[in-house]
Amino acid sequence: MDDARLAELYERYGFLVHRRCLQLVRRPEDAEDALQETFLRVKRYGPPRDGGATLAWLYTVAARCCFDLMEKRGREPVAEESQLAALEERGDGSTEDADRRALLGAALRTLDGKTRTIGVLHYLDGYTQDEVAAQTGFSRKTVGKKLKTFEDRIRQLFAGRSHEARR
């Protein structure tokens, strides 16, 4: 992909991709890293699918980059207090949930592809369980079960973090 097209994509979607990366990896330096890696992959592997939703496609690439980064770093993302305070309510839920929401990326990383897709659609893209079922083709029951798995994982991570903090 040539630089002019890449610059156009960046101006239109760079902010949103960066925001999504921040939601997943939490550390600003990691989000910056994931943003660059996302656009490098777009540059290497060509433009988004014709006729498809470009943002959804970029979000998929960005999530992959974030999970790869987490694997590479070998650690769970840790949110700084200042970041938690700055979370947008609409995109990230209420501030009371901020500390648990900060573990979204870590939880997603440890789950299978199906649960991960459902988790992203529900918690980050903001779709209801019925909408997730309609979008993915999974039954409402499957979506509910996968979200329960997702919740349990977040609870485990949260409990582990609280325990770490007390030691």
């Binding site: 610059a7 925001r19 656009f39 490098l40 470009t54 839920g93 903001g126 919740e151």
Partner: protein, 250 residues
């Protein structure tokens, strides 16, 4: 117990966060969604926040600067060869040692001896299909042998025989005095065939491949000197030698 994590807050008629985000990027959105966002204070505020956020983001990180960062990142990324370097560094010396020292340790003279699959021999018998011969295959008087030799580079080939009576003969080119040219990657069987005589016992075949033409006489003499030995060998500088032992049944 920790309460379940609630999804992002959203009114009953409001679109999901991802739809508002796509709308802020100028992606096509249903008219009904656009109408709702215009009328809904919460959605309008979120759209406004996204637009303001994007403008601030681009002011802080303009596209040309971002592209330069990508170029630097691309240039700094190690190439696959660079990643393979530690592996190559470990493997290449071992490979060189095996190729250079291996034959010297196992052979009993100068030159390079390979006992590879490059040399193939088949036997034809009346009324039967040709059969590939392996080490210690049984053959008998009257069997007709054909040869194939595959080499990645062009060169010259001699096929020599040492029979149970101690006689040495050039089998390819049959009764020739020097090697015959061989094309690179030649997989077909060489023209002609050789009929085995009534010499009893073990038959040795040697395929000698060389990048330069070879005279047969010195090699035949060396084979005759080794008549009766359990494992006759043949070497010559810069040659590749393959051998095959056959058992001639009466």
């Amino acid at each position: 117990m920790t309460a379940p994590l609630p999804p992002s807050p959203r009114g009953p008629e409001c679109p999901p966060a991802a739809v508002l985000e796509a709308l802020s990027a100028g992606e096509p959105t249903p008219d009904a969604t656009r109408a709702h966002v215009q009328a809904c204070a919460a959605c309008g505020a979120q759209l406004e926040a996204l637009t303001t956020g994007r403008d601030a983001f681009l002011r802080a990180r303009p596209a040309d600067r971002f592209l330069r960062q990508l170029e630097r990142r691309e240039a700094a990324a190690p190439s696959p060869w660079r990643r393979l370097f530690p592996v190559l560094a470990a493997v290449v010396p071992v490979l060189v040692l095996v190729l250079v020292l291996g034959p010297r340790l196992t052979g009993d003279g100068p030159g390079v001896t390979w006992k590879g699959e490059a040399f193939r021999v088949v036997v034809s018998r009346a009324g039967a299909e040709a059969v590939p011969l392996a080490q210690d295959s049984a053959v008998k008087e009257g069997d007709r042998l054909r040869f194939a030799y595959e080499s990645p580079e062009a060169g010259h080939l001699l096929v020599l025989e040492l029979d149970g009576r101690g006689g040495a003969t050039v089998f390819h080119p049959f009764e020739g005095t020097a090697s015959a040219p061989l094309a690179a990657g030649q997989r077909d069987f060489l023209p002609g065939s050789v009929e085995l005589d009534d010499a009893p016992g073990t038959e040795w075949l040697f395929a000698v491949f060389s990048p330069r033409p070879l005279q047969a006489a010195p090699l035949l003499a060396r084979l005759r000197e080794q008549a009766g030995r359990a494992e006759p060998t043949l070497t010559c500088d810069g040659c590749r030698v393959s051998s095959l032992r056959l058992r001639k049944a009466p």
